[in-house]
Amino acid sequence: MEPAAHATSNGGMIDILSIMHAEETKKIIKLPEILGVDLSITPPVVTLIIATLLICSLFYIGSKRKELVPHGIHVVVESIVLFTKETFVLDMIGRQGLHWWPFITALFIFILFNNILGLIPGMATPTSNINVTATLAIIVFLSVHVQGVVKHGAIKYLRGFVPSGIPGFMAPILGPFFFILELILHVFKPFALSIRLFANMFAGHVVLLSFIGLILMYKSYLIAIFPLALTIAIMALEIFFKMLQAYIFAILTSLYLSDAIHGGH
């Protein structure tokens, strides 16, 4: 019994964090280290690869035959793509943001598949790892600012950080102050974005493992019924939260892109 080995490390209490860490860093295929980065295949990486293959095959099969009246997988793909177009692009950014449609769709589908695949027993959730969410947030951060600079030019985009309408004599003092404030705000955004997704996914697993841990603590079949029933209920709630988090990530991305395209304030 592998988890029980960790269980007694904290005076009878279950050490949830060390169990989760041990599960996440288990090496399935050992690969060498390159420049201090361990390239071994761990369970989250397996889930990432499976999710990518699933998405690619779904979209390839779904969009292979172009029919006027879609049926089968074509319907699924078309409804996903039209949903992202309506809610994220047209509602949040408008017609000028239509070139961001593929990016936001890819982001939404990728996070959704990774979140949902983590619920299958035996698979790890890649998005409950801070490195994955931080990478996604950095991609969003870079694309937002590159979009802003391309659209308005570097000088005009940076000037947009300072609100217009500061009285003339106050401008030398308040201008730099607002500029630095806005700069901090922009730098903080990817942190908030990554920690939100990571903590939501991580918290779900901690709650599930806490209930399972009750069984390991009491070691009784009679007690085991209640945590299992609660676990099933929380699993159902988790499906909803995982969809919601993918939605939130995509909608915040489109909000930031909309700010960059329309010049913020």
């Binding site: 920690i195 903590a199 939501n200 939130i248």
Partner: protein
């Protein structure tokens, strides 16, 4: 001693964080229910707005959770 105090701080901090977040989501849900009762035809839009707001508020509790976990991992 320091480790025990860190564990105590994690618990108290998580409690205070959950208190504020619970109040925030409660207010959001109450206002959404009020809005839906007053204007049932706008219920779809109100629900979407409330869900986004709830997820944003919930994230604050999760920041507290991250801090609590950092404190808990102190020996």
């Amino acid at each position: 001693m320091a480790g025990s105090l860190a564990h105590l701080g994690a618990g108290i901090g998580m409690g205070i964080g959950a208190l504020g977040t619970g109040l925030g989501i409660g207010i959001a849900a109450a206002k959404a229910a009020e809005g839906t009762a007053r204007q049932p035809e706008a219920s779809g839009m109100i629900r979407t707005t409330m869900l986004i707001a709830a997820a944003l508020i919930e994230a604050i509790a999760l920041y507290t959770l991250v801090i609590a976990i950092l404190l808990m991992s102190k020996p």
